[in-house]
Each structure stands twice: as C-alpha cells, then as structure tokens.
Amino acid sequence: MTRFKTLHILNKPPEHARYRLCLSAIGPQDGLLLTENGVLAITQPLAINKERCFALAPDLEARGLLSHVSSDQIASFDDMVDLTALAENVISW
C-alpha cells in the first residue's frame, strides 16, 4: 500500500473554490483521494500523476463514472482506511 507524505481528501466538484485550493497544495510526495462530489475531477485534466490519484468506488458508481477510471485508481473504503492510516498527514478539503 502506498505511503504518502500528505494524503489530500477532496470531496468538492471542480467548480468549487476549495477544489482549486486543494490542487495548489499537492506536493511531489503527496497523494489525492477523490470522494463524493470530488470524483467528478476524473472527467477533467488533472496535473497529478495517475499513480498518486485515487477515487472512491461507491461514489464513482453512483455518478455513472466507474468506467471512466482505470482499476488501479479505484479505491474501496478499505483502501481509504489504509491510505489514511499510512500517510504522514491527511488534509480533508
């Protein structure tokens, strides 16, 4: 399981001010976990390496976006627990 310096959890859609704030705070050793409305980000060009960007499966599924993401990037709640437990720090945006 990946261990990030800071794990950023983003639950806001791309139109939201805090979405932009979050993206501007992601450092080179950080990871991004998209949840809730945040999973809409996967329809947008994101300046973050795919290996550091995950989206919560149930939220993708609800929004009809499961097929838009490669399986490497899809996280379950179990994955979310691991990601948050392993990261040095977590910021919920």
Binding site: N11, P13, N37, T43, R63, G64
Partner: protein
C-alpha cells in the same frame, strides 16, 4: 406564470438537487408550467448509468425519467457545462434538450429559482 428551476449542484453530494426536483414536481402537480435547467456541475445529474445502491441513496435517473410524466415541460442542459464534463447527447438521459445558458434563456420565464 412559467417557472424555471435551476440545478447547479451535482447529485448525491448534497440534497439541494433533490429538493429542486420536488419544487418542479409540485408546480407540475398543481398544473403550473415548469422546466428544469441543469448547469455547471449540475449536468452530472443527467449522465446515464448511475447506481447509488452502495452509497445507500436512491438513484436520480428514475426520478428524472418520470419528470415528463409528471408534467414537467422540459429538461434542459447547458451546452458549455455538458462540454466541460465530456457529456455528449448520447451520454445524456433521454428527455434532455441541450441549450445555452444566458439572459435569453432565463428571460423566457416569469419566475426563476434555485432550491438553495
């Protein structure tokens, strides 16, 4: 008296869109002309293939499909917002028409409202 209800929030993350839908259905139930407009992140309401079982909510697709039956005159989607979310006409639920958001559109209605 014609009403336009605007939904600019994505589904499932908040209750605003559901409460906007209730407003539209109530107007229709009382035979008041009403249309729904989806813009901004709100166009994500219209994507085919939604399944909200795992997050323990009701999928909004069925509600929207019922809108014409209940007497909602039109489901409109903003062109630019659809583009922004990579939604083509094929990806959208059936009764939706793509339109351009702006003063020409809103001025066609006597009453324009958001749910929150």
């Amino acid at each position: 008296m014609s009403t336009l209800i605007i939904i600019d929030q994505p589904p499932y993350g908040s209750w605003e869109g559901r409460e906007a839908l209730d407003m539209a259905f109530s107007l229709a139930a009382f035979d008041q002309p009403v249309s729904l407009l989806f813009c901004g992140a709100g166009v994500n309401w219209l994507r085919k293939g939604q399944d909200a079982t795992t997050i323990q909510q009701k999928s909004v697709e069925r509600n929207l499909a019922a809108a014409p039956v209940f007497g909602v005159e039109a489901l409109l989607a903003d062109n630019k917002a659809c583009d922004h979310y990579g939604l083509t006409e094929e990806d959208l639920l059936d009764p939706v028409s793509i339109t351009d958001f702006g003063p020409e559109l809103t001025s066609r209605f006597d009453h324009v409202a958001f749910a929150g």
